[in-house]
């Protein structure tokens, strides 16, 4: 488990991270969401031991990570712009990482290269941005880390590749117990992969919740009530987070389980009723509006 407690980080006069506390549990895929400049990369760089927090503590399996080889052995950081040796090839990178990690998955490395159709002898400098991201992910996975920290790693990957990477993640989690931590500014990208999501804003954690829990506990309903009186009666019963009305059509965001909502509407007199799945973005908008933030601005800028 990675535990981040009350960390602060300033760059000169700029507050990059302000009192962030978050826990990354093993076996989960953690999505770290935030706008550009929210502090996602800084948090990941501190967790990977690149940066030292000005205050607060970061522990990886109860070991402080900064300047600690034992802790760093369990973490692999894939930055937003991964570095490869100038004029180096995928083969060169494998040799380098193999010299550092004794049990580097060399066979798996070349297998993945083949799977992703990356030429091991081609200079990395000639790779596209997406190919470089793929290679970085392969390098990271084959180092067999316990925690794989990915900073904007899925940006630039085409949907097919993204799906491929996700399936590799799933396999590694299942087989080797890898815990990915994925930072992104794009909620949609993380929706189908993350188990837990943390929202960073202005250097602080705005929200950190289990995705399933969030999804199960909030529903979206579109309905037309038979009368205004019926509408008033039902709306009083439900925990309405948001109610948008266009003509007679109500679009409701309602807190509660699917079963509870269905039960309430079964007893209601409606002309039209439909229970919809909320996107991660919508859940976030709802949840954060509750605590007083205009999340549309936070997410879309």
């Amino acid at each position: 488990m990675i535990e981040v407690k009350n960390i602060h980080k300033n760059f000169d006069d700029i507050v990059a991270v302000n009192d962030v506390s978050v826990t990354f549990k093993e076996g989960n895929v953690f999505g770290l969401i935030g706008t550009n400049g929210a502090g996602k990369s800084t948090v990941l760089r501190m967790i990977s031991g690149v940066l030292k927090p000005d205050s607060g503590t970061i522990t990886v399996d109860e070991m402080k990570v900064y300047d600690n080889i034992l802790a760093k052995q369990r973490v692999f950081f894939i930055p937003d712009e991964p570095y490869f040796f100038s004029n180096g090839t995928a083969k060169d990178m494998e040799k380098y990482y193999s010299s550092i990690y004794t049990n580097y998955y060399t066979d798996k490395y070349y297998h993945f290269l083949k799977q992703f159709e990356l030429d091991k002898n081609r200079k990395i400098g000639t790779f596209s941005k997406g190919m470089k991201k793929q290679l970085a992910i392969i390098c990271g996975i084959c180092a067999a880390p316990k925690y794989l920290l990915c900073d904007e790693t899925f940006d630039g990957l085409d949907p097919v590749m993204r799906q491929g990477v996700k399936s590799i993640f799933a396999e590694e989690m299942e087989v080797n117990g890898m815990t990915p931590v994925i930072a992104s500014h794009n909620l949609r990208e993380l929706e189908d992969i993350c188990d837990h999501v943390g929202l960073l804003h202005k250097g602080g954690v705005l929200l950190s919740k289990d995705l399933e829990e969030m999804k199960l506990n909030i529903q979206k309903v579109q309905c037309v009530f038979s009368s205004q009186a019926e509408a008033d009666r039902i709306l009083k019963i439900l925990q309405i987070v948001k109610n948008e009305k266009r003509g007679t059509l109500h679009t409701l965001t309602v807190r509660g389980s699917r079963e509870e909502i269905l039960e309430a509407f079964n007893k209601a007199s409606t002309v039209f009723f439909e229970l919809l799945q909320l996107s991660l973005e919508e859940i976030f908008i709802s949840e954060t509006e509750v605590v007083g933030y205009d999340v549309k601005k936070l997410i879309h800028g």
Binding site: L51, D67, I69, Q73, R74, F76, S99, Y101
Partner: protein
């Protein structure tokens, strides 16, 4: 996950990625050492084969190429800075830092891997190049212990020197976050002490009347600058400058040890900085934010002082311009550094308090020198604190020359101040104390004193002897310690090798050679009379001639001494007369066709008169002094150098067909010269429209 512990595997991996650096190192050193040596030796060996040069010269060429020189210093420094900064350039790039810093490799291990690989990138090609050079030397016949020793010494010393500069370059990389600024910082760290010493020396020269320093070499005797130590070591490697080492109480071994300790110290500092350097420093100008102000002030102060000194000396010791120079240096350097810090021209006026701090410190330093708050000029040690002293008085000495037993030239001040041990320190302290009470700068002579203090320190002062102390000075002159140091005729081994020593007597015009027996007899008489020579004697009159001793053992050791003969050295003069080598006049009157007297005015004009009458020529010659005699004058005022006598001799009668020039003593001219040139009334010089006349005169002077 497990880590490979193999340090060598990491080194191998690092060297693979930096192989291009190794290739450059090999290529440059290959051309710099064996290739150039082969070309030079081939050229010189051809000259040796033709008999134009001695074969010993080949060794000198070899030693020059593989040994110590300014070129090798530059090559080593460039490589050390280049390899050092290249190796740690990952510190300047965030992408690289994200990768390297997140890897499970300790900082120290990563540092040592890069450090050792970089060091070997110089040490291996350099060693191989030296080996090849030695092989080439052997092929050209330069063999022997000396060649091997110089090769080995050169390798070991240059490797240590490289280590010191390399560590400094790494320190610069650790202190900064950008390649360009790291290179600048390395340069500043390398020259900071030298620059500071030069500036302090410059201020001391400008503001202290009694300041004395040996030479630029002595200024470069640095404490922490490896470049300064290398330069000093190189200079001292030559036999002639071994005295420089003695003077500063050091030796080649001490310098070697000094460099080694410095190298290790810099390495430790580099390791320490590596451990504490924040990774986020990449891209910044300075890694440690808290040091920004201090570094800025430390750079701005010497730049401001240097600016002040430059303006002060260019503007003819103008205090106003000195202050202007300081202000310009202060503001410009502070603004430039701030721009570099922020990578933003708009930051030019930020942190004005740094300018205030640096300006304040600069002003304090300037005032300390200006008003001599260190009491440098008034300092005279208590005689009981002084072990012994040495005194060098240049006036009246002509152009003395000194050598050691290797027959290498040593400058008079270095030789005398190193070798003279006067026990009468009371007298010297009294003369020094009296000199502080007089403000008359026209006092003569100027005297340089070295006090050897009982606490082991050496203190130097230069001052003019007060008139009332000339008698005291005469006492020092007459002392055995003084004479035996100043006149090598008393103790140098060359004067006992009568067969290799040739003796001549010259009155400044006519030169006669003495036989071995004559020489032995003359030296015996001269040494006795020389003991009685004092400053008052030589101030009164110019010598009648001088004895030249030319030593040449035929094996490459040669040297020449000149000693003046005064009229009061009656026994020596009588002996010279007896053996018929003494001549009153420089020329026989009948050998002179004409004498052209040319008197230059202060304003660039001149008056010229030509005398052809034998009576006038005879009279002029009686009053005239040759340059070789007039240089024994205790003051320049004794000789009227603005009045030149061009002697046109008869080419048939004399072996040389040339103009010869002589001078008059000030206020001592033939009567008709006084009249013709109005010397006794007032120096009036006729104005002549210069260009054509000067051209014609110049033609006359330099025609032959």
């Amino acid at each position: 996950m497990m880590l490979k512990n193999s340090f060598t595997a990491s080194m191998k991996e690092n060297s693979k990625r930096r192989i291009w650096v190794f290739a450059i190192s090999c290529l440059v050193l290959f051309f710099y050492l064996p290739v150039i040596l082969a070309l030079r030796l081939n050229d010189y060996s051809q000259q040796v084969a033709l008999g134009n040069m001695k074969i010993e010269l080949l060794y000198e060429v070899f030693a020059d190429s593989v040994g110590f020189s300014l070129q090798t210093l530059v090559v080593t420094v460039v490589f050390a800075v280049f390899i050092g900064i290249q190796g740690f350039s990952y510190l300047f790039h965030r992408k690289k830092m994200d990768m390297y810093a997140s890897l499970p490799v300790s900082r120290t291990k990563r540092f040592l891997v890069i450090f050792i690989v970089g060091y070997l990138f110089f040490a291996i090609p350099y060693g191989v190049s030296l080996l090849m050079s030695y092989g080439i030397g052997m092929a050209f016949g330069v063999v022997g212990t000396s060649a091997l020793c110089i090769t080995l010494l050169s390798y070991v010393f240059h490797c240590i020197f490289f280590l010191a500069v390399y560590a400094i370059a790494i320190i610069a990389a650790m202190l900064t976050g950008n390649t360009l600024i790291a290179t600048l910082a390395a340069g500043i760290l390398l020259i900071y002490e030298i620059a500071a010493r030069i500036i302090v020396n410059g201020y001391a020269q400008q503001f202290f009347d009694r300041y004395y320093y040996f030479s630029q070499k002595a200024i470069l005797k640095c404490l922490v600058s490896p470049v300064g130590i290398y330069y000093f070591f190189t200079e001292a490697m030559t036999e002639s400058n071994l005295i420089l080492l003695k003077t500063y109480g050091t030796s080649l071994g001490s310098l070697f040890l000094h460099m080694t300790i410095l190298s290790l110290l810099f390495c430790i500092i580099a390791v320490f900085l590596n451990c504490i350097r924040p990774y986020e420093a990449c891209g910044r100008a300075i890694s440690f934010a808290k040091t920004k102000g201090l570094i800025k002030i430390m750079i701005v102060i010497p730049v401001s002082l240097g600016g002040g000194l430059l303006f002060y000396s260019i503007a003819g010791s103008s205090d106003g311009f000195a202050i202007l120079g300081i202000c310009l240096g202060l503001v410009i350097s502070a603004c430039m550094i701030q721009i570099i810090y922020d990578f933003d021209f708009r930051s030019i006026i930020k942190r004005k308090r740094h300018i205030a701090y640096a300006g304040g410190i600069t002003a304090i330093i300037y005032i300390i020198f200006y008003f001599d708050f260190l009491a440098y000029d008034s300092y005279v040690p208590k005689s009981e604190q002084v072990e012994s002293a040495a005194v060098y008085i240049s006036s009246g000495m002509g152009y003395p020359s000194y050598t050691d037993n290797e027959f290498e030239y040593i400058s008079p001040d270095e030789y005398i101040l190193e070798n003279m041990y006067l026990e009468d320190v009371d007298t010297i302290c009294k003369i020094a104390a009296d000199s502080t009470k007089t403000t008359d700068e026209n006092n003569e002579p100027n005297c340089i004193v070295k006090y050897r203090m009982k606490n082991g320190k050496d203190i130097y002062r230069s001052f003019f002897v007060a008139d009332q102390d000339i008698e005291l000075l005469d006492g020092i002159y007459k002392s055995k310690e003084y004479k035996e140091t100043v006149y090598q005729i008393y103790n140098h081994e060359a004067f006992y090798d009568e067969l290799a020593l040739k003796t001549y007597y010259s009155n400044g015009g006519i030169r006669e050679e003495l036989t071995v027996d004559e020489s032995v007899n003359l030296v015996k008489l001269y040494k006795q009379e020389l003991m009685y020579l004092n400053y008052s004697n030589i101030k009164k009159e110019l010598p009648k001639g001088y004895i030249s001793f030319t030593y040449d053992d035929g094996m490459g050791k040669s040297f020449e001494w000149e000693y003046p003969v005064y009229s009061f050295m009656s026994e020596s003069v009588n002996y010279l007369k007896k053996i018929e080598v003494y001549h009153e006049n420089y020329f026989e009157t009948e050998d002179i066709v004409s004498i052209e007297v040319m008197n230059y005015g202060d304003d660039g004009t001149y008056q010229t008169e030509t005398y052809t009458e034998p009576e006038q020529i005879n009279e002029i010659i009686k009053y005239a002094y040759s340059d070789t005699i007039s240089r024994y004058s205790t003051t320049e005022d004794n000789i009227n150098y603005s009045c030149v006598l061009y002697i046109n001799v008869d080419p048939i009668k004399l072996s040389f067909n040339n103009y010869y020039y002589l001078y008059f003593q000030t206020d001592n001219y033939p009567e008709f010269i006084n009249t013709d040139f109005n010397f006794d009334v007032e120096k009036t010089v006729s104005s002549i429209n210069g260009d054509i006349e000067v051209g014609s005169v110049n033609n006359k002077i330099y025609k032959n």
